[in-house]
């Protein structure tokens, strides 16, 4: 029997098997390095001042509420980040908003609405009642009832809900979402198209307001009324009445906000989304017109005969002949 040769270094350590193990590990390490450790070093947003800092004593209550939020797993159904396309959920989030959010509660699925800016949206009473019996307040809701929470837990949880996005609310009450303002590329492009180019509209000119008036009568008067007092013929059938543009309150609305409302409607009301119906230019004309409607004193509509009358529409008499499908002869 021939004597066995001692294994060389290569044979021993660089055989397929060990080499494979090394390969497996090193590939993986490189990936971990680039996608796990590199972000930790490179991605360090400074606090934006818009997220809640739970380490500060004053919000200790909400801090405990947050632990209950985590414990009860609310994040399986609720997300906590607003995206560009999320309407009616308030301002967009920024990277620096999350510095104190550990463990993160970004969430994965929206079985229920986004809660990023939920704070202050409803009263604490409402929130509490909703947690105890969601279906009493929102028929058809599939949010589970959390009636098993103790009083203290419930109060803390509601304190936490009410703290969500508090610092993110804009000082100006009527701020349009970021994508309508010059803080984002999207918004900048939009405002550029408004001020320059062949579609430009000067929303302060009376020419534009006049153009807007026609569009208004055709599309909006049925609800908002001919004069914009919220007294269109349709108003009678609406649970949430159309806005009355004579209110002095509307004087503070900036153009972008009007534009945003017209484009996206008002969530939770019958106000339609005209973004898909009217062109951008038409919507800017409407803005110009709406801005002329405010008065020093709101015109109060309190009686039914103050509603605009609707002319009875004369429909053609239906006869079998008239609407018989063509036979192709």
């Amino acid at each position: 029997m021939p004597k066995e040769k001692p294994e060389s270094f290569q044979q021993r350590w660089l055989s397929g098997y060990t080499l494979g193990a090394i390969g497996i590990l090193s590939t993986f390490m490189i990936i971990i390095f680039s996608t796990v450790f590199m972000p930790m070093v490179l991605f360090r947003p400074s606090p934006s001042g818009r997220g809640n800092d739970y380490t500060v004593e004053q919000v200790a209550d909400a801090h405990r509420g947050r632990q209950i939020y985590v414990r009860e797993g609310c994040f399986y159904c609720h997300t906590q980040f607003t995206r560009l396309q999320d309407r009616g959920y308030g301002p967009l989030v920024q990277a620096g908003d999350y510095n104190y959010e550990t463990p993160h509660q970004l969430g994965t699925a929206r079985t229920g609405p986004d809660l990023t800016n939920e704070g202050g949206r409803m009263s604490s009473q409402w929130q509490k009642a909703h947690l105890v019996n969601p279906r009493a307040l929102k028929p058809g809701s599939i949010m589970p009832s959390f009636s098993f929470l103790s009083d203290r837990d419930m109060n803390d949880l509601v304190a936490y809900i009410q703290s969500l996005g508090n610092k993110r609310t804009s000082k100006n009450f009527v701020e349009a979402p970021d994508e309508y303002r010059d803080t984002t590329d999207h918004g900048k492009a939009l405002l550029d198209r408004k001020t320059t180019g062949k579609e430009a509209v000067d929303t302060n000119s009376s020419a534009a307001a006049n153009a807007g008036r026609g569009i208004y009568t055709q599309n909006c008067a049925v609800c908002h009324g001919l004069e914009g007092w919220g007294n269109g013929p349709n108003a009678i059938s609406l649970e949430k009445k159309p806005a009355n543009f004579s209110r002095p309150f509307y004087k503070q609305y900036p153009d972008e906000f009007w534009f945003y409302r017209i484009s996206e409607g008002v969530p939770g009301t019958r106000m339609p989304r005209f973004g898909e119906i009217l062109s951008e230019q038409q919507r800017w004309y409407l803005v110009a017109y709406l801005k002329t409607l405010q008065k020093d004193q709101e015109v109060v509509i309190s009686k039914i005969d103050q509603l605009n009358k609707a002319e009875q529409v004369k429909l053609p008499v239906l006869t079998d002949q008239q609407y018989e499908p063509h036979t192709g002869e």
Binding site: L25, G73, R87, A109
Partner: protein
């Protein structure tokens, strides 16, 4: 090991019905996810590996006592998980809910298993490593690491970094563990069940390294629309799309191996499970990269569509291949034939149809939801419209659990009453396992 497997089955299956929306759902959901991921699939995987690896190496498991010990330890962890999660003792990190002690136990257990397997492979009596071994080894190297990094038990990262690491883990428990072991099992089972050689060893290696390379960095595609850095999103999206390459390589290999053997699925039940799994794998892996692109993600994210996708992967693909492994290996381990072929058939159909129903209802519900969120329609206006799909999903859950109960019953009966198997081809490696069952 059989005991471990069944404990796993019994553990994890009841909660597949977690989908009664009106129950206090979040706690159940934690338990559901962990039960399925750590309990059912992981334990089943380890069980299957303990059978397949010695067989492939033509040797015995390095230490059976250690194997047994890890099995019991794992079961203990699951008991702990059951008690804590249902009480809401959670870390609040999706897929990583288990508390600190349990985390450490799982990781230790995994390392023990790795050591055991590693020694077994060193003892092997064949020169070449079959591709399944590559997959198993790779997974066992990766998974403890992924797991440890992913748990973030002892570190408190600021919010978004927490999310980045969280999704690195969330996706790689799938990519570097469920997928790799699952695919390894398919490589083991398909040639054996069809008695045809693997179509190409070269392709299989290509698939292996492709998965290793492209799977790991994809995690961030779960938070594509949050304010995490753009470069990270770009890496995630690109590698998600590149994943199509290894996946299609792997599947080509499978389907070419099946060539001329398709008829066998009619009579060979384990094979039927395996082939179903491969087909669902194709669907998942085409769906996945497509969802990871920005525009599709823009629309579909946050909806039940994604939940459907997750079930397609874990239930449709990996659960089916695991079941196939059970049906294939248990007779070889215990030396007893299956108690009833009819029950296997029933299991298959319940699981298959149940799953299809679940997938369809979730996908449709997801489309309704996606439209609602994307166009800003308030939830009150459409929550009633997706109600029928919740009920359908409920029904599908019941079917699947029923199937699983039949499976458990069948296995129980086979252990204690059925005839010694005739199918037994290679009793030797199986022998080592028998002691444990």
């Amino acid at each position: 090991m059989g005991a471990g497997l069944f404990a796993a089955a019994e553990f994890a299956m009841p909660d597949l019905v977690h989908n009664v929306p009106q129950l206090s759902m979040p706690h159940l959901r934690m338990w559901h996810v962990n039960g399925v991921a750590i309990g059912w699939l992981s334990m089943g995987y380890v069980g299957a590996m303990f059978h397949m690896i010695p067989t492939l190496c033509k040797t015995r498991l390095w230490s059976e006592r250690l194997g047994n010990f890890s099995m019991w330890a794992w079961n203990l962890v699951m008991v702990g998980a059951f008690c804590t999660l249902l009480n809401g003792n959670t870390e609040g990190r999706e897929y990583a809910e288990l508390g600190a002690i349990l985390d450490v136990l799982v990781a230790l257990d995994l390392i023990l298993i790795l050591y055991n397997v590693y020694r077994t492979i060193l003892n092997r009596r064949v020169q070449k490593l079959y591709v399944s071994l590559w997959y198993f080894l790779g997974s066992l190297f990766w998974f403890p690491l992924v797991y440890l990094i992913g748990q973030r038990t002892f570190v408190a990262l600021p919010g978004l970094n927490d999310a980045i690491v969280g999704w690195f883990y969330g996706h790689n428990i799938l990519g570097m563990w469920f997928t790799t072991v699952g695919v390894g099992m398919m490589y083991y089972l398909l040639p054996r069940l069809t008695q045809a050689p693997l179509y190409s060893h070269g392709l299989s290696m290509l698939g292996f390294w492709g998965i290793a390379l492209f799977y790991a960095p994809t995690g961030t595609h779960h938070i594509l629309q949050s304010p995490v850095p753009e470069w990270l999103k770009a890496i995630a999206v690109i590698s998600s799309i590149f994943l199509l390459v290894p996946v299609l390589t792997v599947l080509t290999n499978f389907f070419m191996t099946m060539k001329g053997k398709w008829g066998m699925v009619v009579t060979d039940l384990p094979l039927r499970f395996a082939v179903t799994s491969a087909c669902f794998y194709l669907v998942t892996c085409v769906q996945g990269p497509f969802q990871a692109t920005r525009w599709v993600n823009w629309y579909l994210h946050f909806s039940q569509w994604v939940v459907g996708h997750a079930h397609l992967a874990l239930l449709g693909t990996f659960s089916f291949i695991l079941t196939s492994a059970f049906y294939y290996s248990l007779p070889r381990l215990t030396g007893r034939d299956w108690y009833s072929q009819g029950l296997i058939r029933a299991h298959y159909w319940l699981k298959f149809l149940g799953f299809l129903l679940m997938m369809t209802s979730l996908t449709i519900a997801g489309l309704v939801q996606a439209a609602g969120w994307a166009f800003g329609v308030p939830i009150d206006q459409w929550s009633l419209q997706i109600r029928p799909y919740w009920f359908l999903r409920e029904l599908s859950g019941i079917m699947i659990v029923l199937g699983q109960l039949i499976f458990a019953y069948n296995a129980y009966k086979s252990f204690y009453t059925s005839e010694p198997a005739v199918v037994l081809v290679k009793p030797a490696p199986g022998k080592t396992q028998e002691v444990k069952a």
